[in-house]
Symmetry: C2
């Protein structure tokens, strides 16, 4: 790869015997430049294979036209969908996306955020990692005057723009559906309670039990069961209880629900007749297990779109009264794993 001297507006100007400012104006399609010279400039720019140096341009303009995204993992369905949704909207407005993954690690998350601040991004979009305990780094973003949008996993105490799912409602509906289907003892696989989304899902679970006068049984609630393996482990524990549950709400993810299903199959427990299963997130595989898994769709791509639109909407909005919170209502998708009859 040899070093190539790129053509600048000065090169174009020199060739045409005019000044760089005129070239700059023409390239920005300024109205205050002669149509004929504009054409000439455009043509020459093309001939010289000119590409604007966005670095210089942005430095001059004090913006970067770049949005930073921090997620725990890029290659996780939900997140890659959200990113795709963001990209869809931002690309057409000439914005670029810088992607970082925190790997569920607080320290790396801080590093990512700092990197993005360094980059002078116009906005940071983040879904916090599971083991985040303090949010100084996010406060830092705000202190730098950078727009901050949290989505899905949010630090509630921080007053920022947020795009979230109505986790309480979704979980409430899921558990209500189980109860109405005749399930009497409903186990809960819960996620790390320092993440509000998991707290909310538990809240929805409890709310449904209460409404239907189903007693809350502590031993039916399994902590930290948010991977397939942990879901399987929790299920083994639950199913070996003297009074095992007849349904399990894997509130953390479909992965954990898959763990439930596999253990049930292994133990010869029939789904859905002997055990109902409900997951979360509508991962693509949940449709093709046998039986297929009842789950909750979060409209992840749409969520990404919403994040992007929120950003554009807030650009130049000086009215900092109350940071907007947009809540997307997830949808319960009823499938084989809860269709008893």
């Amino acid at each position: 790869m040899k070093k190539v001297k790129r053509t600048t507006i000065y090169d174009i100007a020199a060739k045409l015997g005019i000044t760089a400012s005129s070239v700059s104006r023409a390239l920005n399609n300024s109205s205050q430049v002669n149509e004929k010279t504009k054409e000439l400039i455009m043509k020459t720019a093309d001939e010289l294979n000119y590409k604007r140096n966005i670095l210089a341009s942005n430095l001059r303009k004090g913006q970067s036209k770049t949005i930073g995204v921090v997620v725990p993992r890029i290659n996780q369905n939900f997140f890659s969908n959200v990113i795709a949704g963001i990209e869809e909207m931002t690309y057409q407005k000439g914005y670029n996306l810088i992607i970082c993954q925190s790997g569920e690690d607080h320290e790396k998350e801080i590093q990512c955020v700092n990197t993005l601040i360094n980059q002078h991004v116009d906005c940071i979009v983040i879904s916090v990692s599971a083991d985040s305990y303090d949010y100084q780094h996010l406060q830092n973003v705000l202190d730098h005057g950078i727009q901050l949008i949290q989505f899905d996993r949010v630090a509630e105490e921080l007053e920022t723009l947020k795009v979230i799912n109505d986790n309480v409602q979704a979980s409430f509906e899921a558990v209500s559906h189980l109860i109405e289907g005749g399930y009497k003892r409903i186990g809960l696989l819960e996620g790390p309670q320092n993440l509000s989304i998991f707290k909310q899902r538990k809240e929805g679970y409890l709310k449904a039990l209460q409404l239907y006068n189903v007693p809350v049984v502590e031993e039916l609630i399994v902590e930290n069961a948010w991977t397939k393996e942990l879901g399987a482990e929790g299920t083994r524990k639950l199913l070996s209880l003297p009074h095992p549950p007849d349904a399990i709400f894997a509130s953390t993810s479909d992965f954990s629900a898959l763990g439930v299903l596999e253990v049930a199959n292994l133990m010869g427990i029939k789904v859905p007749s002997e055990l109902g299963i409900c997951g979360y997130a509508n991962e693509s595989f949940s449709e093709i297990t046998s039986p297929s898994i009842t789950t909750i769709d979060q409209f992840s791509v749409y969520m990404g779109n919403t994040v992007a639109n929120l950003f554009f909407q807030e650009i130049g909005n000086t009215d900092t009264t109350k940071p907007k919170i947009i809540s997307i209502k997830p949808e319960l998708i009823i499938r084989g794993s809860t269709k008893r009859k």
Copy 2:
């Protein structure tokens, strides 16, 4: 969001009564600056919450420390895995990733590439879209002195760095496995033949047939069956032939293999006894269908790592003799859908 004036090296210099150059040197950990002043500078920088303006730095240094990635879709398992793999390596070296999706559209792909050239990225990593017919835009990348690395779906005629799978070998092994399992009439679901990867997979298929003296039957080869829907459609066609196949190699993807499986289930055809199925890509769901689907693992995250490492290895390498091509050997994963007994 109020506009905040960020602290610059001048602010630090002013506060300490020294010049910006010293500050710059200190921040770059130059050896030719007094240890004590260095410490002082660092401390003050921290106090003033200083963040280097990478834009300015990069402009000055004539680099961007940014790598552009263009893929058809971000939210497709294979690609998001590759991206995750790239990010893993580049992040720790202080490089950023700008992600674009071409959406399998040639025009948008050109746009993406131009955007990245504008950004003065140091390298463009691309997997070309299915309907790409000419590669002028990629030549353009090279003309700008930007490193170009193609992966997986590559334009073979272009002399660039490449990281690919050995598709021929993998397909050869898959089809050999089918033949050795006793399958006699093996159908092929093939992808767009303008993409070399699909051509190669067909080549592997033909090679295996030839080696085992299995005649090639044209009517068993279905063009353009590279989504679940098209795979299902092709399967319906194949299974309604007077002499239907007893195995189908869905060379395009596991999605298409899933289409095969669903049609087989619908038609009451037993897998694997009456019909063997082999997919491609080892999507997460292929493990949990019933039966599970035999497939080919491409080591996608590792592929991303390899791309990144190749880039770093080639930095400053002036020896442009022959562009390197790294071929990763995929692995056949034998599962239920081909385990006849």
